[in-house]
């Protein structure tokens, strides 16, 4: 299935792109992140990230569906 990715901050810089569409067979975001981390050298272990699917926070175990927008959220540093 096709998954849309949007990157922010350090992940955006390391991925070298803001938006990406990937074709994947992973059923959840966990293994998808592991694969992307391997590809781009993201420094964050999954425990340090939150994930948002279709504009809201979601558990790592949420089943992926065709067309989902996935955002990996590095430790936030606002304020």
């Amino acid at each position: 299935m096709r998954i849309h990715l949007e990157y922010f901050a350090q992940l955006r810089e390391l991925a070298g792109q803001k938006l990406q569409i990937v074709e994947t067979t992973h059923e959840t975001v966990g293994p998808l992140y592991d694969e992307l981390r391997e590809t781009y050298g993201f420094p964050f272990s999954p425990e340090r990230l939150r994930v948002a699917i279709n504009g809201d926070f979601a558990p790592w175990t949420q089943p992926l569906r065709e067309g989902d927008l996935v955002v990996f959220i590095p430790p936030v540093t606002g304020g």
Binding site: R48, I73, P75, T77, G78, G79
Partner: protein
Amino acid sequence: MASEPVSIETLRAALHLAQAGGFCSFEGWVRNTNEGRPVDGLDYEAYDALATKEGERILDEAMARYDISHAVAMHRTGSLNVGDVAVWIGVSAPHRDAAFRACRYIIDEIKHRVPVWKNERYLDGDTQWVACHHTHRPHEHEHDHGSCNHNH
């Protein structure tokens, strides 16, 4: 979420209700140093849609937890210089205790939950995504969102 400066008078206006006897505000300003390095300014990047949604949830929580009249929060995105207002929280309440507590709750939650990231520009020309807030949370609403492990 605001990509341009917002007038504090405008933000305050919504809070100025006749039953409110106390008003507490917090502003985060861009400091001239961080961990000893001279800072020139910083750039905030945000996941705007989710940041807005999470910010509204935090304000709703504050309204539910504390006896307050109204609460407003603003967070900047984009390029800021030393002294600029990065975040503004205002809370009005019948009594001051609730105003202080709610204001503190809101800024603490924003710093831990709202998807905003800070890229610091140093005077030596270097830039760096700030890795993690170095804050502990010694407050009544202490809980760990697990989003930030102190690794230095």
